[in-house]
Symmetry: C2
Subunit: 436 residues, 2 copies
Amino acid sequence: MKEINVGLLGFGTVGSGVVRIFHRNCALIEKRLGATLKLAKIVDLDIERDRGVAVDSAILTTDAAQVVDNPDIDIVIELIGGYEPARELVLRALRNGKPVVTANKALLALHGEEIYTEAAANDVDILFEAAVGGGIPVITSIKENLSANKFSSALGILNGTCNYILTRMTDEGEEFADMLKEAQEKGFAEADPAFDVDGIDAAHKLAILISLCFGTKIDFEDIYIEGISHLSSVDISFAGQFGYKIKLLAIGKITGGAVEARVHPTMIPIAHPLADVDGVFNAVRLKGDFVGPVILTGKGAGMDATASAVVGDVISSARDLLAGSKMRTSPLGYRTEALEKLPVKAITDLWGPYYLRFLIVDRPGVLGRISTILGNHDISISSMIQMSRSFKDAAPVVLTTHEALEANIRSALYEIDLLEEVCHPSLFIRIENEME
Amino acid sequence: MKEINVGLLGFGTVGSGVVRIFHRNCALIEKRLGATLKLAKIVDLDIERDRGVAVDSAILTTDAAQVVDNPDIDIVIELIGGYEPARELVLRALRNGKPVVTANKALLALHGEEIYTEAAANDVDILFEAAVGGGIPVITSIKENLSANKFSSALGILNGTCNYILTRMTDEGEEFADMLKEAQEKGFAEADPAFDVDGIDAAHKLAILISLCFGTKIDFEDIYIEGISHLSSVDISFAGQFGYKIKLLAIGKITGGAVEARVHPTMIPIAHPLADVDGVFNAVRLKGDFVGPVILTGKGAGMDATASAVVGDVISSARDLLAGSKMRTSPLGYRTEALEKLPVKAITDLWGPYYLRFLIVDRPGVLGRISTILGNHDISISSMIQMSRSFKDAAPVVLTTHEALEANIRSALYEIDLLEEVCHPSLFIRIENEME
């Protein structure tokens, strides 16, 4: 049986998962592929540490050239993460005519164009199913099965750490800081959690999704990003009273020829298909003009689920090699020259319903003054509750609005916060009502 | 730009959807594919009827040979449905070296082996994403992205008609016959609904799923099939009191080297990921050894969603043609010679929890007699409710069991139905508790 030699760059958590798949499902993959996938080289700075998987020490090396410049290596897996040396090694492998499989969303979100161009120039695959949604088959679905559709939106719960923390805050009524600590203790959050809880990781994934769905190049800086660390359990509880859950959503939409690209805490109706995606699960809801809504759910992170997507890509690339095709599908599912550069809508131009929370000293007339300011900014109230529970020694007033312009919401809140009865900065959360 | 000529067999509902996609998304598909898909011929017995889509009459013909034997046709779409002439035309197209895209689950469930063999012999694609789950990208996910996994189970809500009827029965408390009538009036059920409500259609799809997931050939007659027409709204209501919903599930599992292949009404916990898949939506939950559970949800039927999957396959096949590869992936994702023929477990060998409903005349001692018979058959009761609501002039007693052997359930119910206090045949529904 024909052998395909795979070289692995990066023997960390996901790398160990990949090795485990090669060991455990080797015979099964042969049955499916009609060839043997052989893990021929593993590169890591540390080739001594025990990863709990048996590896022939002869294939371990600290020298990346033994993978990226080695004529015997057919397919390269990049699991180093980060920008350098990952970027340089990926480019070198592509230049050497080797297909590359990567899970590196940060790299693709910031240097995707350079990498896709190099892959196209050398007519080889660059595959990255593991970069978005871990084990969930979302990227191939967009590029292949759903490719007859014009997409209007892609909504995702794309960060397991945030989703775990928000789920625990919702279920337990606990505060962010405590649940972050718990997540760290359980290994669901990094020691430095900023990348996750500030929404950066979800935004990297959104950048990739938007290019795939809408065929547009997007500058990472054009994505609006807001994390979850400012959320309080009272807002989660108030949201529940309005019939909503709060999720960190990555949202990509096309409206009027412009792209919406934003990551922020979002209130979605409890019956929304993403509302019950809890804990470390991820999900993506795509909407195509013919297929309608499609929801894909699964484990968005973790050694095994991510390794599943990585090895799935290796099998796919091996099939291309065996069939004599090279780059069968363009990296983003569009011919490179067909990719556009659509304008990205400013967050202040967003039009939608909002949840607003004010903390006031309850004196006669204060609600009237708040309502008047909102009205002056073309914001009409959908429902309002004055909560009996006090928060930060103040009386919370929470309301939802009808559709309004975000610039107006921000101006109104600025004015309201100047009222002397308002004791703390007011807060708003965007609401996403569309269910299908 | 290179042109790829597509021939369409069958200009019915889905065929019209395909034509609509070709019209509306032609430019978009060019951007993605790098070639023009051209609908060159449409074959139907009726080429006069207005389908609400504009078609050049020159491409319409009643002669299938103009597609399957025409050297100018690059890819054939079969949407005739049923067994003949679909089978013969598909085989002829494959023999002529043309890749075939079909949505015909009945044909594949019964004649799949012959068709896959012919495709392999001619080294051309046979693609059928639309055959299972309509627009949901389930087949390609199994064959490509998730192909590093050993699957242990595939659970599906695969028939939109049944799911619509059960959802309406659940929400409205109405009976099967009335909701079937409503579904027919709304166009969600055929005039002859047997194929759907008796579970045959779901079983066709399950046969395909099982082959894809477990790499085994399966005889359609080996699938246990039970429809939904015997279900009553009282059982749906009682299920709710136990914390369950009733869905028509198609279930494929591997246990101890044997395949479970069954379609039947199933009670699943209300928090189960498939419990909220309502109305005409379909969903599949796959479980792989590395990826864990993956749930794919979307529209399982209808002109547009099904056409989305068909044209997605056409694009995929066109990519293979353009890349010079022919059959890039085997029809079932396994090399033909690697397909096994695993034994199928008899339904009486099933081991699991059950819901049992007895209709009794409430006399002293009757519950004791029922419990004794159950105990004699190694069936232990998990919870029991005697319902105050009478049904068919009798007192319903409903209970759930711990895990038991189905053969024992059947024998026990046979004995219980001989008791003079039992006024109607007892009923059982299988319970599926596993959530992840």
